[in-house]
């Protein structure tokens, strides 16, 4: 049995050591907001935070998580996460939505580190996250909007 800390809760899971964290999250624990896209850390759909750092869960063996704190889309919280989600909603970034959990987690990590990113910062931080609907134009705009929200220039409340 492995003990995992997910979104502040401790879970005990019975999984082979080589099982990627992604599949433990999705198939064992029901955290299906984190998506499978490529299985090779190429697309970022499976991005979660591991101790606050954006991490590709599809390529991280569950045995390597150890005592690390995992945060998924279902558990992100704090000012950057609230700002990102509010900005995403305000600008209606999503299209098919499948990559967006990963995009939002990655954007949250960026803003936690750099509350006022430039376009170049955004492109660098988000280059590992593929969106086949190509919502990139709005992702850039929404990260700037989230930055403004964090600076208190707009509300971080989600609409119903």
């Amino acid at each position: 049995m492995l003990k995992l800390s997910i979104n502040g809760k401790t879970h005990e899971v019975d999984a082979d050591a080589d099982t990627p964290l992604l599949w433990v999250l999705r198939d064992e624990l029901g955290y299906t907001g984190t998506k499978y896209g490529c299985g090779m850390a190429l697309c970022g759909a499976c991005t979660v935070l591991l101790n606050g750092q954006p991490t590709r869960s599809c390529s991280l063996p569950v045995s390597a998580v150890g005592k690390g704190k995992v945060t998924t889309i279902e558990g992100i919280s704090g000012a950057p996460a609230r700002a990102v989600q509010a900005a995403w909603q305000k600008l209606d970034v999503v299209q098919c939505g499948y990559c967006q959990s990963g995009q939002i987690v990655a954007a949250t990590a960026l803003l936690a580190q750099k509350p006022k990113p430039t376009n170049a910062d955004i492109d660098a931080a988000m280059s590992g996250n593929v969106c086949r609907c190509a919502t990139y134009h709005r992702i850039r705009a929404a990260i700037h909007e989230a930055s403004a929200i964090m600076a208190g220039k707009a509300s971080d409340k989600l609409e119903a």
Binding site: D27, Y36, E74, D123
Partner: protein
């Protein structure tokens, strides 16, 4: 009303109302939920108004990112005068009697950018019907004439001060007579349609991780299946040894099916490990022998031979005899994978009533028939829960129903013992076939001494998408698949002598429509060649096109608008030292929507390039949701750029050489230009926007690169250095 129960028999999916992951597995109890529903008005198959004041709009089209749920809801809510905040969207069940695509005849499905166009009148009437019944109920309850009752934002009111919500009147309204011809609004009275920013109905679920995709479905007792497919197209299973696979912890069953060998396990990882542990022998005697180089050589030979005539006006042979100048180019377009973010998958369960399916369902009627044929049951015994699709770009609308059939064969081979979730890996998805076909084009243009078009000859070589499918009768005539030549055979530019012909080689590589279908290649060939003609004539590319578009005012309309907004007549700002900058334009009509795009490009000294800015003008008729239209143009531009800059599927001896995003690169954020979208005001009936943003971008960029460097690009993806 019993209709409510009937509509909701299975798979109730309320956008915005589904619980989080903890309720997965319990949310599919459509019957009990419908029975527990409050009294409601459900006058037709598209709307249900409950006494809790919710307005549920039933969407017959798949939401795969294109905004269909939002668009369909907008049309209906407009005529109903609902408050946008009270509107929810629910997926329709598979039932072609009620939910057929009116542009597809008796077939239910989503594609060809047809969702808005075919639903426009239907949903306006559906909304107006419900509104009239609410008004009739209020008139009866308040004892006032119906004509004196006003409806706005989900409330009915009368000058006497009486007021009621939709929910207050739903039960009484359900007893009113259903009007036959409800009065529709004058478009000048629209309050939701055309509103600049109506929030998407699927946003919140998609930014909180709650949206349910097929990949997320978990049924009690369900096993995950991963399939070993043949390594080459046309190869078949000879034998397999599952001994090692069955030793993998979690593997439950291994079964042979027509498309390979399926490993069923508790969860994906065990199934994949089991699949990878299979020992397989394939019979490759019927496998596709060619690789891409051999195919291109074969196709190139066909470029020299006349094909089936798709279009013929005047006499091109005579036109070329009288030409002062002839332009000629051969073009190459590779196979392309759809590579949607959600790799293909399907969930299926067999029970005593038939088969129940969960899928990002794009072609219900075809899939029902195909799945039914596997089990020997009636199509109506296949019920389908249409879930969000994590992209599709055409891939989930497959006349061969490849992956739903595969799932059906697995369920059948295991005698329905377990609900099955079939999951394709990214590699399976990339290598599993159904690509935008590889095409070659030859375009020859005859110009007079003044640079005017005398003749246009275009030959297309590439596999037919429609042949051999149920759509053949509708789409293939006299050996010409309309989807191979659309955009060329109906060339918009005025030319007295036009001939377009086609070779459709038959080949065992599975092909399929890919976002914007024939226009992905015809748009490129036509729009880059017309640009060459303008250059040869010494004319401005916009002015040259406009002079040839007298009979196509909507092409001309978007072209003029895009030129104005892009500042076409002002000089482009110079780049840094050593950089070359250029601006290019293209205009393409597809699916009844007209799109012009101007691209600004910087070419660096090392031959690398960047698309800096794209200005887009679109005329799609009445703009139902302007923000969704902008999003689709932005996304279409990115999708088209991805193919122009990066992507190609190639074959070696009938096996696909690519496997994942490292060797099938796609557009990433750093390549995304700044984009501005302008919507042309229009009174015309609305047409689609999911596809039409794609075709103009590759030629606009190519024309910009040519303007910057003088180099014309005839092969995709672009290679400059």
């Amino acid at each position: 009303m019993d209709k409510t129960v009937e509509i909701s028999r299975r798979g109730l999916l309320k956008a915005g109302a589904l619980g989080g992951m903890l309720v997965v597995g319990f949310q599919w109890s459509g019957k009990s939920r419908a029975a527990a529903m409050p009294a409601s008005l459900a006058p037709n198959a598209f709307v249900r108004i409950a006494s809790d004041n919710s307005v549920t709009i039933i969407a017959k089209h798949l939401e795969m990112g294109q905004g269909s749920y939002t668009g369909l809801a907008t049309i209906l809510a407009e005529e109903l005068d609902a408050d946008w905040r009270q509107v929810m969207v629910e997926a329709a069940p598979a039932d072609a009697k009620r939910y057929n695509n009116l542009m597809w005849g008796p077939t239910q499905g989503t594609g060809g950018s047809s969702a808005m166009a075919n639903s426009w009148k239907q949903l306006r009437q559906a909304g107006a019907t419900a509104r009239a019944m609410l008004v009739a109920a209020a008139a009866q309850q308040w004892q006032v004439p119906a004509a004196e009752i006003a409806v706005a934002q989900g409330k009915l009111s009368h000058a006497s001060g009486k007021q009621a919500s939709f929910g207050d009147l739903a039960a009484l309204a359900a007893t009113m007579e259903v009007p036959k011809e409800p009065k529709l609004k004058d478009p000048k009275d629209f309050k939701l349609i055309g509103k600049q920013k109506l929030p998407r109905k699927d946003s919140k679920d998609k930014i909180t991780g709650r949206a349910q995709f097929t990949q997320d479905v978990k049924l009690p007792g369900m096993l995950t299946a991963v399939v070993a497919h043949p390594p080459r197209f046309g190869a078949k299973l000879k034998s397999f040894d599952a001994t090692t696979a069955k030793q993998v912890k979690g593997v439950v069953e291994v079964v042979a099916i027509p498309s390979g060998v399926a490993v069923l396990a508790h969860g994906f990882w065990a199934a994949k490990k089991g699949r990878d542990a299979l020992k397989l022998e394939w019979d490759e005697t019927a496998a596709v022998p060619q690789g891409t180089p051999e195919l291109v050589a074969q196709y190139r030979a066909l470029l020299d031979q006349p094909g089936a005539v798709a279009s013929k006006t005047g006499d091109v042979v005579e036109a070329f005899k009288g030409a002062a100048k002839v332009l000629k180019a051969d073009y190459y377009f590779p196979y392309l994978a759809h590579a949607a973010m959600e790799p293909l998958n399907c969930v299926m369960r067999q029970d005593k009533d038939g088969v129940e399916v969960w899928n990002g369902e794009q072609m219900q009627t075809v899939d029902q028939a195909m799945i039914a044929s596997v089990f020997g049951i009636k199509p109506e015994q296949v019920s389908i829960n249409m879930l969000y699709a994590g992209g599709s770009f055409g891939r989930r609308a497959n006349p061969a129903s490849d992956y739903p059939m595969e799932c059906a064969h697995i369920v059948k081979a295991t005698a329905g013992r377990h609900p099955v979730k079939l999951v394709w890996t990214r590699e399976d998805d990339m290598r599993g076939g159904y690509y935008r076909p590889l095409y070659l084009h030859r375009v020859e243009v005859a110009l007079d001494a003044g640079g005017q078009l005398l003749g246009w000859r275009q030959r297309v070589v590439g596999q037919s998408i429609m042949t051999g499918t149920p759509f053949e009768a509708f789409g293939v005539k006299d050996g010409v698949d309309a989807t191979s030549v659309e955009g060329a055979s109906d060339l918009p530019y005025a030319v007295a002598n036009l001939q377009v012909d086609l070779h459709s080689p038959r080949l065992g590589v599975p092909v399929l429509w890919w976002r914007s279908v024939g226009h992905t290649h015809t748009g490129y060939a036509v729009e880059t060649m017309i640009d060459e003609a303008a250059k040869a004539a010494g004319r401005d590319p916009v002015a040259y096109r406009l002079a040839l578009l007298d009979k196509h005012p909507r092409h001309a309309g978007v072209l003029k608008l895009v030129a104005e907004k892009a500042g076409w007549n002002q000089p482009l700002k110079a780049g840094k030292k050593g950089e070359k900058r250029g601006r290019g334009v293209a205009v393409v009509e597809s699916f009844g929507t007209f799109v012009a795009e101007v691209a600004e490009v910087t070419v660096r000294p090392d031959g690398s390039y960047k698309v800096d800015r794209v200005v887009c003008a679109v005329d799609c008729g009445i703009a139902i949701n302007p923000d969704v239209i902008r999003a689709q143009m932005e996304g279409g531009i990115g999708f088209g750029l991805s193919a122009a800059m990066h992507s190609a599927i190639t074959l070696k001896s009938g096996a696909v050489e690519q496997s994942n995003f490292h060797d099938y690169p796609v557009l990433r954020i750093g390549d995304m230009p700044r984009i501005e979208v302008h919507i042309l005001p229009s009174d015309a009936a609305p047409r689609g926007v999911g596809e039409p943003g794609v075709p103009p971008i590759a030629p606009a960029v190519a024309n910009a690169i040519a303007a910057a460097t003088g180099k014309r690009l005839y092969d995709l993806p672009f290679k400059l250095s």
